[in-house]
Symmetry: C2
Subunit: 386 residues, 2 copies
């Protein structure tokens, strides 16, 4: 097991009818900015309920945070925060809204001239931006943003991750029933996003981290069991509750503590979304089988463990078992209605070069747990993903 | 899945050579009381190292916290805290030292006349005792006290649990190498304690909490794999590191979130320790097989899941599989050198009545996930444990 730090102070409030706890969780004297995305939280009444439970506070609203939230959009929220002396941010939505709210929290307390400079930090220290407190109400299980301190923001510089030790939500309300109205495709994306977060912290190199491995395997097995069901029966509480909790647990630091990590899938996926507008979850489903195929030697021990413990594959030589595990994974994504080839989304072979150029521009070379995903390897992965 | 709250702000620093981080983790201007138990942390040099890394602060010491820490002992530490205006407590030791330090933290900030009144709260609110900040350096993996907000203290009132929302350690340093010098019997006790913490949150009633179940199973499988090895080869880093992390994860709220819990084993075990001085871990090993035997109907679904997923038992009718699972569990404890019968520790059948009387005196009736462990059922369990 590698040395690690684990720290996660977010208070999770999980379950049915928990939204009303907003009234205790948000300070009575707070000046609150409620941030949300498209109109669905309005249309399905969640926003009105939220405002009801905030009664007595000064409440402001900022809607229109788009998928892959944009710097320019978020800076408008920063203006409201400054003008209205907001001291509490409440994100109501999915990963984009939560990620965007974290950026608003950081940028609102940044004293520099140009907030785009924040992207150069990666992790923004408290001395540079103190952060405003954040609460979240999760309406889309996928990114785990409700229990971590990072976000991914799209600006002229690209689609880039930003972290701050102070950006953990103070609380997150996870009521699975609030996610019942999601379109099937977004639920499927969330299943895949959670699955990939998990394998990026698990299918790397063996380090005798038995608790972490088995917890990761538990998330994967659960997703395989309930993935299709929670799409077909969106109001089945238990299936959806398991998806919601696995999404949170997949990216809150727990399964990544003390193990190597490989974020290649997300890094290449971000470029594909930025260039071609393909849903984040779908880019991951496209890339993962090809990444494992290309990097089967480096990941052999963990791919064989994954094959055996997650899929029950024990027969045949190493390559046969790895091939079967890749096939089973691809079939699982496809069973959720998610295409696993770039060509499914209209990307042509000649489009690969633009992705590689973008990776180079953003310094995304030498990725992976072994640092050997060069631009050339990325190209191979993309060719294999056609 | 049941509704739940999960909140755990302890910063874990895990791994080799992490003790030196004390210098950053303890405030420079702190007045620190270092609390420890018997002489082993002195004998093996841990205490000197700790003091070295605290250089520059006002450092006071309080040794002699006994196993099953006593109220009267801890109140002497409270006197030092008040006299020396201590504002940071550093526990160096195992569960008894950490539990005792939490009590000192609570009692030092309690304004009432008689600190024994604190036991009537169960969970002591911040309005009654603000708590002093606590750090821990873990030298014995077992109780999980390093990442939760509770402790068990022995006073004239009995061996009783006390909690406070403010008693989470601010940080805990877990360096597996600091545990290498432990006697084998204490390591074995720690394996059993962790195992029982886990099954008390897992072998209850099914609630479709798939992540929690699989994480619990992962801890149990890991303990079975590494339990004997970490006793035989105390300096095998990976085996010990897995024990240390499983001990923490077994009682930090994670596997108990959203599931029924059954603390019968600990509640009856505490009475046995209080009356007969038998090690805590050993009382648990004695009780668990008998509890499962007596309560096999109420726990049937989860016992069968435990039998299959942890021990691979799939053949035979329900009772056969449950019997096999109980036998395997008992054999595992015995393989660690831990007797699983009350008679192994000199308790006679006529001693059972005293235990039942103590349970009645402390209100320990109607225990378990279904509330049906009456005094009569406790007597059956104890008779089965002879």
């Amino acid at each position: 097991m590698l040395n690690f730090n684990f720290y996660n102070p977010t208070h999770i409030v999980f379950g049915k009818d928990t939204l009303q706890q907003l009234n205790e969780l948000v300070p009575q004297d707070a000046r609150v900015l409620v941030l949300y995305g498209g109109g669905s939280v309005q249309r399905f009444g969640t926003l009105d309920k939220v405002k009801g439970f905030l009664e007595g506070r000064a409440v402001f609203e900022f809607g229109g945070i788009e998928p892959n939230p944009k710097y320019d959009t978020l800076m408008k929220a920063v203006e409201i925060v400054k003008a209205e002396k907001i001291n509490f941010l409440l994100a109501v939505g999915g990963g984009s809204v939560m990620d965007g709210t974290k950026f608003v929290s950081i940028a609102s307390t940044y004293e520099g001239e140009n907030a785009e400079a924040l992207f150069s930090y990666g992790t923004v220290p408290e001395s540079v931006a103190k952060c405003l407190p954040i609460g979240t109400v999760v309406t889309l299980p996928a990114t785990g943003s409700e229990m971590n301190n990072g976000g991914v923001i799209t600006s002229r510089l690209g689609k880039l991750a930003i972290f701050s030790p102070k950006a953990f939500p103070v609380f997150s309300i996870l009521d699975p029933e609030l996610t019942y109205t999601l379109p099937a495709t977004q639920v499927a994306n969330g299943v895949v996003d959670t699955f990939i977060h998990t394998v990026e912290q698990y299918v790397t190199l063996p380090t005798e981290a038995r608790f972490q491995d088995r917890t990761a395997e538990g998330i994967l097995q659960t997703l395989i069991e309930i993935g299709r069901k929670t799409i077909d029966e969106p109001t089945d509480y238990d299936a959806r509750a398991n998806l919601v909790w696995c999404a949170t647990m997949g990216l809150n630091g727990l399964i990544g503590a003390g193990v190597p990590q490989d974020w290649t899938t997300h890094m290449i996926g971000h470029e594909i979304t930025a260039l071609y507008g393909i849903d984040h979850g779908k880019t991951l489903a496209v890339l993962q089988p090809s990444i494992w195929n290309v990097r089967r030697t480096q990941k052999q021990a963990k791919l064989l463990q994954y094959a055996e413990r997650v899929w029950g594959i024990t027969e045949g030589d190493a390559d046969t078992r790895i091939n079967q595990a890749i096939d089973k994974t691809r079939a699982f994504f496809e069973s959720l209605g998610i295409g696993t080839h770039l060509s499914d989304y209209g990307v042509k072979p000649e489009g690969i070069n633009d992705i590689v150029v973008a990776l180079e521009k953003h310094g995304m070379t030498g990725l992976s747990e072994t640092g050997d995903v060069t631009l050339e390897v990325s190209r191979q992965i993309l060719e294999g993903a056609m």
